[in-house]
């Protein structure tokens, strides 16, 4: 598959769901055009021969970075819950979680 294959509105809607972003119909249309344009621009990557190239995820090669298993002071619950949108009973409150159990 090449980078420059078209991205469709259906793709955009699916991605918006994955990303939990409500989009207006205008936004959906605009984003489709913009992302499509970007991907077409990015097609320069298709021309490169990358068969023998290893991916690079981290610029500075470190290994085995650890922390000792010792408790350190944490956060004050009141301070944290004061910044919460909705708190109740020492916990973060959220609207009903969608589940499909019947």
């Amino acid at each position: 598959m090449a980078v420059s294959d078209r991205i469709t509105t259906a793709d955009v809607v699916k991605v918006a769901t994955l990303a939990r972003l409500d989009l207006t119909p205008d936004e959906t249309e605009r984003l489709t055009a913009e992302l499509d344009g970007m991907l077409e621009h990015f097609a320069d990557m298709d021309a490169l021969d990358l068969t023998h190239v290893q991916p690079m995820t981290q610029p500075y090669p470190l290994r085995n970075v650890f922390r000792a298993d010792v408790v350190q002071p944490g956060l004050d619950r009141d301070e944290v819950l004061a910044a919460a949108p909705v708190a109740e009973d020492g916990r973060f409150r959220v609207p009903p979680i969608i589940g499909l159990d019947s």
């Binding site: 980078v3 989009l23 970007m38 990557m45 990358l50 995820t57 609207p95």
Partner: protein, 485 residues
Amino acid sequence: MSDLAATPVTAAAIAAGVRDGSVKAVDVMEAHLARIAQREDEIHAFNLVLADEARAAAAAIDAAVAAGRDPGPLAGVPVALKDNMCTRGVPTTCSSKILAGWKPPYDATVVTKLAAAGAIAVGKTNLDEFAMGSSTENSAFGPTRNPLDISRVPGGSSGGSAAAVAAGFSAVSIGSDTGGSIRQPAALCGVVGVKPTYGYVSRYGLIAFASSLDQIGPFTTTVHDAALMLDVIGGHDPMDSTSIPAAQPSLVASLDRGVEGLRVGRITDLPDGADPDVLERLEAAFDALREAGATIVDVQVPAFANALTAYYLIAPAEASSNLARFDGVRFGLRVDAPDTNAMYSATRAAGFGPEVKRRIMLGTYALSAGYYDAYYGRALKVRRLIHDEFARAYQRAEVLLTPTSPTVAFPFGSKGDNPLAMYLCDLYTIPSNLAGHPGMSVPFGTGADGLPVGIQVLAGTLDEPTMFRVGAALERAAAHEGSAR
């Protein structure tokens, strides 16, 4: 530049004066606050000015000095902090509605280090929302204006931090650089800006945009101040797994060694895009270094041109994951809804601006099932290619010189509706983020309309000492040029 010439301007001078008692930290702070009072309304460098806190901190520094205690290497130095770095109990917004008013319960490591060094936070500076942009026009709280010409952008994403130093609001400031967000605004505002080697400065407390690309660095008026700042904020942090373990040599110590015998690389296949005035300054920079005793060599980096593509797949991919935590559950904005899924989607739609949404969408797509190999996976390979080609170039030359920005500061709105036009601002800065190499922008004269041009000095991993040597040489040459005109 400053109308209150009584107090020293550079961090080095301020700290020296405060430490030996010849200058009062409160006087230094008043001078800076006065400049803020005069021009901040016009420039909007800050999301939040911490005037009272800063005055109190300055008084405490003076008291420490009077009591014979060591006030630290940056004693009394006013510093502005980009508003994507956590400051405990002080709003940290990333210039986004989704974090409007959020007060972190902890300090970023950089913030702690600066305070321990005696520097005084003067305010939180404006940025492109979540550090995504090259002009600070993407801020949810209004743009920052370039102090040298308020009809033009200061660059981005650290536009506020660059403007704060350029306008004399703070002696130094801190920004973050993921694709050029320190260097480019530094160039556009005529100040020094440095992105160190990835891992040089701790990212703990920096609100992440792209984890494998983000680095924190200083804006200053002099190369010496930048070295001083990095000596303070750099170093291993056990709270950041990607932080380089070994201690690094002092950069201040390497400044005056000159460039005699150094090889400075000219990238002959550098992608087009720079304006003629900018290219003229680059030539002048090569000339200046040659005169100072450096040798100019030609190098090639064929994959340079592919860096933008790789970056605009990798950075948004990581960002799409890093920004998923903004979900209205534990902090920040929440838009109520009948169930959590609806709450997520409504909250994020209301809280994020268009550029952020665009990048989240692009990043999510690049990682999604069926597309990972073609987009994100491939981009990681291009990244390796770029890194390796630069590594080969650094065998032929100790540093490379390029323009920092293709143009001088541009007018507001001039990049139009096409996001790609804006992305091209980072053409020359992006590759070093991908490779993890350090880069700095040094002001080197002016270009079109008398606006500043920045020259970018690039070096290999952990070769900041050489990079600073060359930066200092350019600074000397620029001053000489300036006085000769």
